[in-house]
Symmetry: C2
Subunit: 404 residues, 2 copies
């Protein structure tokens, strides 16, 4: 059987096992590259930063990483010195077992905040894991599953493309609980590729692609203490090195990276048990992408819009009001608004004026589980897209009874 | 019977009647001062601004207003030229009937967005209203009720105090639907006083007091197209004019104004049918009031915190994470956190470390309908307070089935 996942990338080995932090499921993963890889990452903007991120931020500064260790079940956040030493032990233990420098290791955690970090279980697990590292595709699946918390399915992606005549592979795994258990709502994504690209150029690509993917999904507007997206590219594909954004192969690599991150981001949105709908928000005809992005975020973050979608309510007043809430100088009198599902949309506003609509037909479209909302500003050529879930009674129920 | 309300202010007359915009209840109010009053206001920050606000912003520029006309049932927002002409007709009709300049009139609306404005009904109502204006206290109650939409009770306040040896009166009315029908969630507040204060100094007091009251309550994070707070002070108390913030009487006036606005703001929060709890958020020991305010807003806007309060869940991880989300450089390792009701609080975090707590006792405290949350930053002397409701299943139910 040929299953393509992160192990389909040249030089990548991994594993995922049960170390005992969780009661039953796999809870520890490692991704290893046979050679040090160019590396780039983005980290949470929250002022409260999990301990492993403090270490990972330092280790990635020189743009070189060879292995990533991720535990689930304990977020190692708000754990103070004990937690910091635990995260340090994760890196040191992995480095020792892999016989590489600790600075080549990224560490990440996801799970409950504020619980003491189970250092012994995790480091024992790392020692057990290293001899098992393999490029067998089963191992990619084990790793993808071991980083989950309350996710209901593993999130994986794989792409093949060409750069300078060479075949290049890119694989990724992610986790994010969607809507329900936000103490564990860390978003983690790890992408590996065998493309040859330098770390500085890779960082530019990652920052831009994260802005268009993970930064455009709405879970509940909060960032987590543990959010992290890391991309490793080990060069084993042998393509001519992409050493700047002006390199002819850069656009191809960037497009594939963006495609991968959007794919993983949409999987995260789709995994909201508390959610009943997947909503795609597009703002078009904007003067700049930045303006379009702000409007997408303002609309998709609005509890009122999200609750209206749950209720299949074509409530354009709330959408316009949420857009105005972004305070970027939105002129609703120029705006067209379309609502519907993926296949059919109905124009509900034309230049700020309500259109004559068949309300029953539109409500039928809004029964779909995939909603598309398009807002045309008619002020320019730029656009942005975002993805979110609706706000449901289940979301509130789940979130009101979590820790206790 | 002696009921003190806005009609207890010298020179203030008002009325509220049913003009026919709503099917049954009073829907049109007027507040009139026998002499032109110093006036100050704050308006919505939303890019989409209701038509009456466009006119009121112009009329208040010279700091002099003599009458306020407010209709409910139709927000006159997203109504274009037709709506603008309707709002203009409101002001012109009132000015004609009162025999004053139109520039002395403020107009405000609240109700459904995007419906054509019923100009004829409203102007007919104004003509019927003017002869009825009176300082009888019943009229204050009529006015307070006529500005409501889905509010479940009228919101009024009255204060007496002394300035320079003279007795001064201050009355206020407000509306705000709390949580349920946010298409109508306009926050309106109108305060009248007979204090003698110049318009410029009054504007400074109003801006500051609004920042500490209406800007510190959380409905659902969205601003409405129609939000407006206006304060009229007609000078009939005869106190020496307060002509700057350095005037010895200014602090007394300011404190009373802040007390009034906080009183009205808390009434608005209390009127959330979809809400089960009133939550007071205090951030103490901050380097600056601005930092404290940002943290209060970040915590009280968090869906996760609000859902946890609904579930009586002392989930300190969410509170710390929401504080970190403000991205102001919050250091949780210095922070103390207390949770409970008005009378009893339990320390759940001490310098960032979870305290040993009696979880059952704390959960019992959180059954109270008035929750107090105190976050001590231990970094300075400033503080801020805010008020909000919890996020309940009822909130989502109501908001998913509103217009259609």
């Amino acid at each position: 059987m040929l299953i393509k996942n992160i192990t389909g990338v040249k030089g990548i080995k991994c594993w995922g096992l049960h170390s005992g932090v969780k009661s039953m499921r796999r809870d520890l993963a490692m991704i290893y590259s046979e050679v040090p890889a160019a590396a780039a990452a983005t980290f949470t903007q929250n002022d409260v930063i999990a301990e492993p991120l403090k270490i990972s931020r330092e280790h990635i500064k020189d743009g070189k990483i060879q292995a990533i260790v991720i535990n689930s079940g304990n977020a190692n956040a708000c754990t103070g010195a004990q937690g910091y030493q635990g995260a340090r032990a994760m890196a040191d233990t992995a480095a020792g077992a892999l016989e590489i420098e600790p600075e080549l290791i990224l560490v990440a955690s996801t799970g409950l905040i504020g619980e003491p970090f189970p250092t012994q279980l995790v480091t024992d697990g790392i020692l057990e894991m290293v001899p098992k590292l393999t490029s067998d595709s089963r191992a990619g699946s084990f790793a993808a599953n071991a980083i989950l918390t309350t996710d209901t399915f593993a999130k994986e992606g794989f792409l093949e493309f060409e750069l300078g005549g060479e075949k290049v592979n890119m694989g990724g795994i992610a986790k994010g609980s969607g809507m329900i258990h936000p103490n564990m709502a860390t978003m983690l994504a790890f992408v590996v590729s065998d493309a040859h690209i330098d770390a500085k150029t890779l960082q530019k690509a990652v920052s831009k692609a994260v802005d268009r993917s993970f930064n455009m999904i709405t879970v509940d507007g909060d960032t987590s203490t543990n959010d992290m997206v890391a991309v490793l590219s080990n060069g084993l594909a042998g393509n001519p090195v992409i050493d700047s954004e002006n390199h002819p192969d850069y656009p191809i690599f960037y497009d594939k990276l963006e495609e991968m991150l959007i794919h993983l981001a949409k999987l995260i949105v789709s995994d909201g048990e508390g959610a009943s709908k997947f909503i795609e928000y597009q703002v078009l005809g904007a003067q700049s992408e930045e303006r379009a992005r702000k409007l997408v975020r303002s609309i998709s973050d609005s509890s009122l819009v999200k609750a209206a979608m749950f209720g299949r309510d074509p409530n354009w007043g709330r959408i316009v009001c949420a857009a105005g809430n972004a305070a970027i100088g939105f002129d609703y009198e120029k705006a067209d608004l379309f609502l519907g599902n993926e296949k059919n949309q109905v124009q509900v506003l034309e230049k700020g004026k309500p259109s004559e609509i068949d309300r029953n037909y539109l409500k039928r479209l809004l029964r779909d589980s995939h909603i598309l909302m398009q807002l045309h500003l008619n002020e320019g050529e730029a656009m942005a897209t975002g993805w979110g879930a609706d706000l449901t009674t289940d979301y509130v129920m789940f979130n009101s009874v979590y820790t206790t």
